[in-house]
C-alpha cells in the first residue's frame, strides 16, 4: 500500500479514482482505458508540479517517507558479495548502523550506513536508525579496516540523529561521535558519503566527514530536526515548518553553502516512487566520484579532505 504525504492528497484522490475504474473494468467497458489514461496524465502533471517546488518542510516529509529506499536497499542493489561485519569489540552490536565488506562495480569496498528498518519489527531492531556509541565505534573499526587494506569506504546517511538515552550517554555517545569524525578525517582511502534520507546532526556527520558528500534531491541534512529547533527556539513545536525554512536543510541550499558536493536527482515524485531508479542513480554518482578520487595518492586525499572542511563556512547564501 502506498503512503501519501499531506501535500499529496489530490494525487491520492486521483489514484483512488483509477483504482475504482480498474475495479469496474472487470465488467467489460472499453472506454475505461481512455479515462484511466487521461487521469494518469493528470496525476503525472500534479506530481511533477508538487515535486518541482517542494518546501523544506515538505522535503522533510519526503526524506522520511517510509517507502523511501533505505541503506539495505542500496546494499542489495549496488553491492555484490556483501559480507556483514558486526560489533564494536567493546560492548555490543548496534544494528542502527549496518556495514561490512563487499564489491561495488567490481572493486572491494567497506560500506556502512544507518538503517531505519521498514516494518515495525525491523524498526525496533534497528532502533529507527538512531545509533548508540557502539554503532559509531563499529563504524570506526570498519573504516580502520578499510584503511589497512586500502579499500575505499562508502557510507549512507539516514538517521533522525544519534540515540538520546541514558545508556548511550553513560557509554560516551559524544566521544564515540567525535572519534568517528576524527577517524573519517584520518583515512588515507577514498570516503564517499551519500545522504539518502535524513541527515540528523552529529549522528550524521559521524559517517559523513567525507571526501565527497552526495545528497539526494529531496534529502535533508541539518544540525537539528525542524521539530527540535522549533521547540527550542520558537518554544513551539508547531513551528516546525518555519524552522525547516530557516535551517536551510535542503540539498539545494547545502550545495550553495558548499557543505555538499553533488545533488543526485530523484525520479519524478520522489525516490519512493521509483526505488530501483534511485538506487541506480546513486550508484552511478558514487562510481563517478570514486573514479575521480582514485587519481589522488593517499596523503593528498587526506589533506584535500581536511582542506575541504577547513574552508567550510566561507560561502553564505
Amino acid at each position: 500500500m502506498h503512503t501519501y504525504l499531506d501535500f499529496e492528497k489530490p494525487i491520492a484522490e486521483l489514484e483512488g479514482k483509477i483504482e475504482e475504474l480498474r475495479h469496474l473494468a472487470g465488467s467489460g467497458d472499453i472506454n475505461i482505458a481512455d479515462e484511466v489514461a487521461r487521469l494518469q496524465t493528470k496525476i503525472e502533471r500534479l506530481i511533477r508540479q508538487a515535486y518541482a517546488k517542494l518546501t523544506p518542510w515538505q522535503k522533510a516529509q519526503v526524506a522520511r517517507h517510509p517507502n523511501r529506499p533505505h541503506t539495505v536497499d542500496y546494499l542489495k542493489g549496488l553491492i555484490e558479495d556483501f559480507t556483514p561485519l558486526a560489533g564494536d569489540r567493546l560492548f555490543a552490536e548496534d544494528r542502527a548502523i549496518i556495514g561490512g565488506l563487499g564489491r561495488f562495480k567490481g572493486s572491494s569496498v567497506v560500506v556502512m550506513g544507518h538503517e531505519k528498518g521498514s516494518d515495525t519489527d525491523e524498526r525496533v531492531k534497528h532502533n529507527f536508525g538512531m545509533a548508540r556509541p557502539e554503532g559509531y565505534r563499529k563504524a570506526q573499526r570498519l573504516m580502520k579496516l578499510a584503511d589497512r587494506f586500502q579499500i575505499p569506504v562508502l557510507t549512507f546517511v539516514d538517521t533522525p540523529g544519534a540515540y538520546p538515552g541514558v545508556d548511550a550517554e553513560a557509554r560516551g555517545q559524544a566521544e564515540a561521535i567525535a572519534r568517528s569524525i576524527d577517524t573519517c578525517l584520518s583515512l588515507k582511502v577514498p570516503l564517499v558519503s551519500t545522504v539518502i534520507g535524513e541527515g540528523g546532526s552529529g549522528g550524521a556527520i559521524a559517517l559523513a566527514t567525507a571526501d565527497c558528500v552526495l545528497m539526494l534531491e529531496h534529502a535533508i541534512y541539518s544540525v537539528i530536526s525542524p521539530e527540535g529547533c522549533a521547540s527550542i527556539l520558537w518554544r513551539d513545536g508547531e513551528q516546525a515548518k518555519t524552522a525547516a525554512e530557516a535551517l536551510r536543510l535542503t540539498a539545494q541550499d547545502l550545495m550553495r553553502l558548499g557543505v555538499i558536493d553533488e545533488v543526485i536527482a530523484e525520479p519524478i515524485g520522489g525516490a519512493h516512487r521509483d526505488r530501483d531508479a534511485t538506487v541506480r542513480a546513486v550508484g552511478e554518482s558514487i562510481e563517478k566520484q570514486l573514479r575521480k578520487l582514485g587519481n589522488h595518492d593517499p596523503d593528498t586525499l587526506k589533506s584535500h579532505r581536511r582542506q575541504k572542511f577547513l574552508e567550510m563556512g566561507q560561502n553564505s547564501l
Binding site: 558479495d81 552490536e93 572491494s108 563499529k138 575505499p152 582514485g294 582542506q307
Partner: protein, 313 residues
C-alpha cells in the same frame, strides 16, 4: 572432558561382534541426545543433523575442510624449552607432555600448515584440543610466531583457529608471556599489510582469547562455541549467581560486539574465502595511485594547523 559418548548400540553389537569398525558406531548428540550414525556424523563435519549442534573437530579434519582439495603442508615448528619450571602437580609436567605426545603424535598443541583456500595462498595455525586441552605454552607461542613469519614471507593471509582452554598452567609465568609474544605475531602480520582472520571454535578462553585471538581483522565463530576470558564456573562461584542462558557462547559474543559473524561449519570455508577475496583482491577502483612527490601538500596543511593552535594558547 569428553562431550561425546561413543558406544555401540546393543542390537548392533550382537551382529558385528567385538571387532566393530568405526563406521558401525553410533553417537549420542550431547545437545539433543538423539542418536547419530558415525558415518553421517563424519559426512556432516561432526554437526548433529538433528539439532545443529557443532561437536569438536579433530585438528586434521579441520585442516582438511579448510584447504583446497584437503591438501596442505605442515611446517616443522621451532623447539621451545620444555618444562621451564620443572613443574609437577600430581604428576610431572614432563610426563604429561610425553603422554599427550604419545596420544596425539604431535610435539605440542599447535599445527601450522600452508596451502590454498579458494586459490588464495594462506597459512593456517590450528590448535589441537586433544593435546592438553589446546593449552598455550612456549611451544604454542613459538608456533604462532612461526606461522606469522611464514605468512609474512609468503605474503599470505594468516588464519588462526583456536580451540584452547587458555594458558598452560604447568608452564607458569612462561605461558603468561605467550600472550605478549603472540600479540607481537599479530602485529608482524598487520605491519606486513596482510589479513589476520580468527576462526573461533569451541572453546576459545583464558589467555588465548585475551591475546592474539581477539585481535583479528575479522572474527568468525562457529555456532555454540564457548568464547570468553574467565571460566563460567569461576564466575558463578565469584558472583554467586546463576549465569544467563547462552552465556559466553558465540551468539552471545555476536550480540556483545566481539565477533563479526557466527557461521555454521558447512559455510565456514566459503565465508573465509569470500572475506579474503574482498581483502586481498580489491579490484581496480580500490587502487589509489601510489605515493608520488605530492606528499608535501599535507605537510603544509599540518604546519598551518600547528601555527593556528599556538596562537590560541
Amino acid at each position: 572432558m569428553n562431550w561425546l559418548t561413543n558406544f555401540v548400540r546393543p542390537k548392533l553389537r550382537g551382529l558385528v561382534g567385538p571387532k566393530e569398525i568405526p563406521e558401525n558406531l553410533w553417537h549420542a548428540c550431547p545437545s539433543c541426545n538423539q542418536m547419530i550414525f558415525h558415518r553421517d556424523l563424519e559426512k556432516n563435519l561432526r554437526v548433529c543433523q538433528h539439532c545443529g549442534h557443532h561437536m569438536r573437530l579433530e585438528v586434521k579434519q579441520r585442516l582438511e575442510m579448510m584447504f583446497d582439495e584437503g591438501a596442505w603442508q605442515t611446517i616443522e615448528l621451532p623447539k621451545a624449552l620444555p618444562d621451564p619450571l620443572k613443574f609437577r602437580d600430581r604428576k610431572r609436567y614432563s610426563e604429561r607432555l610425553k603422554e599427550s605426545q604419545a596420544k596425539t603424535g604431535r610435539d605440542d598443541a599447535l599445527l601450522v600448515a600452508h596451502g590454498t583456500m579458494g586459490g588464495i595462498k594462506v597459512v593456517i595455525a590450528a590448535f589441537d584440543f586433544a593435546f592438553m586441552g589446546g593449552s598455550m605454552g612456549a611451544a604454542v607461542g613459538e608456533g604462532l610466531l612461526a606461522g606469522a613469519r611464514l605468512a609474512v614471507m609468503q605474503e599470505a593471509p594468516y588464519i588462526v583457529i583456536p580451540s584452547s582452554g587458555g594458558a598452560r598452567m604447568q608452564e607458569g609465568i612462561v605461558s603468561l608471556m605467550q600472550m605478549a609474544r603472540t600479540t607481537i605475531a599479530v602485529e608482524e602480520v598487520r605491519d606486513a599489510g596482510l589479513p589476520f582472520i580468527v576462526v573461533f571454535t569451541d572453546p576459545t578462553t583464558g589467555g588465548v582469547s585475551a591475546s592474539f585471538a581477539m585481535l583479528g581483522d575479522v572474527h568468525i565463530a562457529e555456532p555454540g562455541s564457548v568464547i570468553g576470558f574467565a571460566g563460567a564456573r569461576v564466575i558463578e562461584q565469584t558472583i554467586r549467581e546463576k549465569l544467563p542462558e547462552g552465556f559466553q557462547r558465540a551468539e552471545y559474543l555476536l550480540e556483545h560486539g566481539m565477533v563479526d559473524m557466527v557461521v555454521p561449519r558447512k559455510d565456514l570455508k566459503q565465508t573465509v574465502v569470500r572475506v579474503l577475496e574482498l581483502l586481498v583482491n580489491p579490484g581496480p577502483m580500490a587502487q589509489v595511485v601510489s605515493l608520488s612527490g605530492d606528499g608535501g601538500k599535507l605537510a603544509v596543511v599540518e604546519h598551518e594547523e600547528k601555527s593556528d593552535a599556538s596562537t590560541t594558547d
